[in-house]
């Protein structure tokens, strides 16, 4: 019967090893697997039925010149054909159900794990790893389960043919019993070799495809400065290399394709030879001779399934190993989350970071201008508890508090926070209780109204991953609107307006202040427009807070601060700060000349 997909609960996978994982996929659907084995066996056995019936028709009908018997066996062939086709469809469907159940289950457990394991993923995973797992490994692992159906059937059918031949002649049966393992033994290493050259080929093909995609992605750059010929030549060079690799694959695969037919054929010839001499000696009948030919010819199918099964197992094991490795990734250690030693403060409270000496009072808009952006990021990680630190909240160590509560009350909005594919509404609706009115308000605060207007279907416009169809500034405002919609008690914004023009930035600063009134907002930025709207600004230099005050006060008092922010975008690097202090406004832009 078809499985229930998607699974309401995919279960807990056995991640102690690739084979255990595959075994878990099989034992999650025991009845279906049993059904698959039975059908696989019945279908495979049925393959041997037709030669038997043909032999009967030849012996009892044609040779005996008995039209009634001929009619009987002829009709039997037709009926057997229909039954066999029906069995084949059932077998195919069950095998597919088994594989699809496994695929959906793997996808579901991976999805759950990837969704819950958290920030660690972006650091520990190489680009494209999940794509490989999702695109190929899940399928290859599921394919191993084919063994449970036709694989089991192949072994049974093989035994069956041997038994039937035994009743005709033990010598012929012995040929079969020795011959088939011989074929598998010869072909096994060739299949593995094919797998190796094909892996190289696919890898190279992937690189070449990436190169074509690279050219497509860079077309606008090429149109701007020229040089198309060079890239066409480079691509052609690599294409030729792949061609040579392709010849290598062809050399192996052509042997395998030819041998898959020739080896059983050769084997068949030997058996027929023996059988013909027996028939000549009168040990077996002509009908039996034809039957032997049929049985042995039919063996090609189980042999093919056996070869295919061993090949799938080799490949599936490698694939399952990658799935298991992904499932075994553990979240970052950010302190004990289950047995919280200290409760979170019941009311909005002061945040403190001993490393920099920063204190953020509750309910205010607070700015931090850091000379080094890395310091700002590290500060946000500590205050948002993405690392173990000595930071405190309401006087207690943040690290000891219940993690879920910290996450829901303190939000770190990264400037490169991920935008998932979906309509703009999907992107913004991070909670189900948000209606369009709330979305519009947040969009307005983030000054992203024009982004919505520019999209053909407004909120219903489909965006791809990372919202690539939007410009950098548009994306930044969408991110800001989304962060505002989370309505956290503490909102930590990292460079929220770096890609936005000055007009818009001024608008955002004003609206942000109004929207967050009474709640804690921490702005990590060097933009004077933004910092000008903060109640208090801390100037972070060399990893410590060196001055605190309003933006205007700091501009007045702190030359380093002035150099950092007043000429935002045009100022020299902070290490040259003391030089810049001697310059008047505008002089630093000389670097632009």
């Amino acid at each position: 019967m078809p499985p229930q997909i998607p699974h309401p609960d995919p279960g807990t996978p056995d991640t102690r090893g690739p084979l255990r994982y595959i075994w878990w996929l099989a034992r999650s659907q025991p009845w279906r697997v049993l059904r698959g084995s039975l059908l696989g066996t019945a279908w495979m056995a049925g393959l041997a039925l037709r030669p038997y019936l043909i032999a009967k028709a030849v012996d009892d009908g044609l040779r005996a010149r008995d039209q009634r018997a001929l009619l009987f066996w002829g009709l039997a062939i037709v009926v057997a054909g229909v039954v066999q086709a029906w069995l084949g469809v059932l077998r195919h469907r069950t095998t597919n159900f088994i594989r699809e159940d496994a695929t959906a289950r793997s996808a579901a457990v991976l999805l759950r794990h990837l969704s819950r394991v958290g920030a660690v993923l972006s650091r520990k995973l190489a680009a494209g790893e999940v794509a490989t797992v999702g695109g190929a490994d899940i399928g290859n692992t599921s394919y191993v389960l084919t063994i449970t159906g036709p694989g089991v059937g192949a072994v049974v059918a093989y035994a069956l043919v041997a038994v039937v031949l035994w009743t005709i002649s033990p010598l012929l049966a012995l040929c079969i019993l020795l011959g088939v393992p011989l074929i598998v033994a010869v072909m096994g290493p060739m299949l593995r070799r094919l797998d190796r050259v094909e892996t190289v080929y696919r890898h190279r093909l992937g690189l070449l495809t990436a190169r074509a995609g690279d050219i497509v992605a860079g077309l606008r750059v090429l149109a701007g400065v020229g040089g198309r010929g060079l890239f066409a030549r480079r691509y052609a060079d690599r294409s030729r290399e792949l061609l040579a690799e392709g010849y290598r694959v062809g050399a192996v695969s052509s042997w395998i394709r030819a041998l898959t037919h020739a080896l059983p054929g050769l084997f068949l010839a030997v058996v027929v030879w023996l059988a013909a001499r027996m028939a000549a000696d009168g040990d077996i009948t002509v009908g039996q001779l034809v039957a032997v030919y049929g049985y042995v010819a039919v063996l090609a199918v189980p042999v093919w399934f056996l070869l295919d099964g061993s090949y799938q197992l080799i490949r599936g094991r490698v694939a399952a190993r990658r799935i298991v490795a992904l499932l075994n990734l553990a979240p970052d250690d950010v302190g004990d989350s289950d047995h919280a030693a200290v409760p979170a403060p019941p009311h909005p409270a002061e945040l403190r970071d001993p490393v920099t000496g920063l204190t953020v009072p509750p309910g205010r808009m607070f700015g931090v201008a850091a000379t080094d952006p890395a310091e700002a990021t590290a500060l946000a990680d500590r205050l948002g508890r993405y690392v173990v630190s000595e930071a405190t909240w309401g006087g207690q160590r943040l690290t000891g508090m219940p993690l879920a509560e910290v996450r829901s009350r303190i939000l770190v909005a990264d400037h490169d926070a991920y935008l998932f594919a979906g309509t703009l509404r999907d992107v913004l609706r991070i909670r189900d209780d948000l209606n369009d009115g709330a979305l519009r308000a947040a969009v307005r605060t983030a000054s992203a109204d024009d982004v919505v207007e520019a999209l053909p279907d407004g909120f219903d416009t489909e965006l791809d991953n990372r919202a690539r169809r939007l410009s950098g500034g548009q994306r930044q405002r969408v991110r800001l609107a989304r962060a505002l919609l989370a309505e956290p008690e503490v909102l930590i914004l990292l460079d929220p307006t770096s890609a936005v023009d000055a007009h818009t930035e001024a608008r955002i600063a004003e609206r942000l202040r109004a929207a967050r009134a009474g709640r804690t907002t921490l702005l990590l930025s060097t933009s004077p427009l933004l910092l000008g709207y903060a109640d208090t600004v801390a100037y972070l230099a060399g990893g410590r807070v060196v001055a605190t005050g309003t933006h205007a006060e700091l501009l007045e008092r702190e030359p380093g601060y002035r150099a950092l922010v007043a000429r935002d975008g045009g100022a020299p690097a902070p290490d040259a700060g003391d030089v810049a202090t001697t310059r008047g406004p505008g002089e630093v832009e000389e670097v632009l000349r």
């Binding site: 009709l75 999805l111 060079l230 975008g569």
Partner: protein, 585 residues
């Protein structure tokens, strides 16, 4: 900031029609005629050798019935062995020749595709979006590859085998041949039914699988955001929906296969039974021998494999043809026009009454008049959506104004030869791209004649001192999968290209906007070296750029509302002055 094409209706790249596809397919065969003929001959020879075994078996049956001696049987059996060996060897070399032909054809095809892609006018690429082109370059090119390499040979060989097998039965006796066709009508009908539906169903299945993979990938990439915003349940719900879609797509294709396997499978027995049943009366009248009937039955039993293969691979061939049409479609776009306005005289930029809008959309620019002197530095400021980027594109000659004219050195900029235009004016945007290839490749395409010394000098000029740390200097491989440059380094690389290309006019469209402030600062310092001695039109993002320019143009809603030096505009006390004061603190 808003690149116009976002809102403009996507106009798709063309897809080749049947006639073009057929001609291209014939071309592929013709260009490698020797290999094709050799492969066909070898395959045919292999198939003929394959017919030997049942035929010889039929003879053995007759001999045994006639009571022949062991010697005669041994010779016949040895004949079977010989046939099998010959078939194996012939088939191996046939496959090998076919595979090599396929690989060569695919290589030619993909190289041609890339050449055509590179010749596409940039406005066509932007209108169609790079997504479509990226799919054609990956999915379609590779699908055509597997089709030419795997599916086409199987279809050709299977067809040939079937014709030989049925031909052989006809040779045994025409009546047997006629009877053998018994099972074919039902197979033909179900195949038509299946092929009509299979293509869409499998395309949908492929898309659903890709969507699920994409969901898993983005879930991993956005893991930190999921944790921060509590999106885990949403992601799981979203992904579960994808799993359900894939399952629905797989069930749909399975349903199609269930029907076709059932009908075809049941039909396979019909010719065998028919030959045996008709064989009885024929045998009675001595029209055929027992061996002939047996051989015919065995031939028809052998026909099951190629029939199966034909049924399954025809569908892939159809999909491959559809992809082929999309690959060839890229070649149907007329290449960038050569332009014939000759060489511009002078370096000034003039805009007169320029109006422009994307697609059928409303005007974005409403009559711009502007004169930019050689060597002048003009800053263009204004709110998002005012048309700043559009203005930049018009001056760079990417788009043609709806009315009015953009002149470069007295010639319409869109009429200049593209190569000539690139030597005159270059648009630098926040979009930078590091190509897969060596650092040298990444520079050389801007100036093919540049020496290594000039390249190094260009890198030094833009402050790209990181190049000295590269393990292999100019030969270091960059880009996806090799050494990845950070955004600042990548932007410096882009600037070094401009130093090498050496245009006299530069348009900077927020070239540093996507960078974080520190990086932007470093990059802007590098810009200084590039701008020296050139006309610069800067779409300003930070007002300090405007402060330093010779003149500032304030663009609002597609019109120039203010124009003058920084000091003049401040004195005028308009919108610019207000903004400057708020920004300046």
């Amino acid at each position: 900031m808003t690149p116009g094409p976002v809102a403009a209706s996507a106009s798709r790249l063309p897809v080749a029609g049947n006639a073009v596809v057929r001609r291209a397919a014939r071309d592929l065969l013709r260009r490698d005629r020797r290999a094709v003929v050799l492969a066909v001959v070898l395959h045919a020879a292999a198939a003929v050798a394959g017919l030997g075994a049942p035929w010889l078996l039929g003879m053995i049956v007759d001999e045994v019935t006639a009571g022949a001696g062991a010697g005669r049987l041994d010779r016949l059996a040895l004949g079977i062995v010989g046939c099998v060996v010959a078939q194996g060897l012939l088939s191996r070399y046939a496959q090998y020749v076919g595979h090599r032909f396929g690989e060569r054809a695919v290589a030619r095809l993909r190289e041609e595709f890339v050449r055509r892609t590179l010749a596409l006018p940039v406005s066509v690429v932007e209108r169609a979006g790079t997504g479509d082109l990226a799919t054609r370059s990956s999915v379609d090119v590779n699908l055509v590859g597997t089709t030419v390499r795997d599916a086409v040979p199987v279809v050709v060989i299977s067809t040939a085998k079937l014709m030989l097998l049925f031909g052989a039965v006809c040779l045994l006796h025409p009546i047997l041949g006629l009877v053998a066709l018994a099972g074919l009508p039902s197979i033909f009908v179900v195949a038509r039914w299946y092929l009509r539906r299979a293509r869409d169903a499998y395309l949908f299945e492929g898309a659903a699988a890709a969507e699920l993979t994409e969901t898993l990938t983005s879930t991993a990439e956005g893991a930190r955001t999921i944790e921060a915003l509590h999106l885990a349940d949403q992601r799981i719900a979203h992904g579960t929906g994808r799993i359900a879609r894939l399952w629905a797509a797989r069930r749909a294709t399975l349903r199609l296969r269930s029907v076709v396997f059932a009908v075809a499978g049941a039909s396979y027995a019909l010719p065998v039974a028919a030959v045996l049943l008709v064989g009885g009366p024929l045998l009675d009248r001595d029209v055929v021998s027992l061996g002939e009937v047996v051989a015919a039955a065995l031939y028809l039993q052998q026909a099951i494999d190629p029939l199966d293969a034909l049924l399954m691979w025809t569908e892939q061939t159809q999909r491959g043809m559809a992809s082929f049409a999309r690959v060839l479609g890229v070649g149907l776009v007329p290449p960038e026009p050569r332009g014939g306005a000759g060489v511009p005289s002078g370096r000034g930029v003039t805009l007169r009454g320029v109006r422009f809008g994307y697609g059928d959309g409303p005007d974005v620019l409403h009559g711009i008049d502007l004169e930019i002197r050689p060597g002048e530095r003009l800053a263009v400021v204004g709110p998002s959506g005012a048309g700043k980027s559009t203005l930049a594109r018009l001056i760079a000659g990417i788009d043609r104004p709806r009315s009015g004219v953009v002149l470069l050195g007295g010639r319409p900029v869109t009429d200049l030869d593209p190569a000539q235009r690139r030597r005159e004016v270059v648009l630098v945007t926040q979009e930078h791209h590091v190509f897969m290839g060596t650092l040298r490749d990444n520079l050389a395409f801007a100036a093919p004649e540049a020496t290594d010394e000039q390249m190094r000098a260009a890198l030094v000029a833009v402050g790209a001192d990181w190049y000295a740390d590269l393990p292999h200097g100019l030969d270091t491989e960059l880009g996806d999968g090799a050494r990845e440059l950070n955004p600042a380094d990548a932007q410096q690389l882009a600037l070094a290209r401009i130093v090498l290309a050496d245009p006299h006019t530069l348009i900077l469209d927020e070239a540093t906007a996507a960078l974080d402030p520190t990086t932007a600062r470093r990059t802007e310092r590098a810009l200084g070296a590039v701008l020296a001695g050139r006309t610069v039109i800067a779409i300003a993002h930070r007002l300090n750029t405007a402060h330093d320019a010779d003149r500032v143009a304030v663009l609002d809603d597609g019109r120039i509302t203010e124009l003058g030096s920084h000091a003049e505009l401040l004195a005028a006390g308009g919108a610019y002055a207000a903004l400057w004061r708020s920004w300046h603190g």
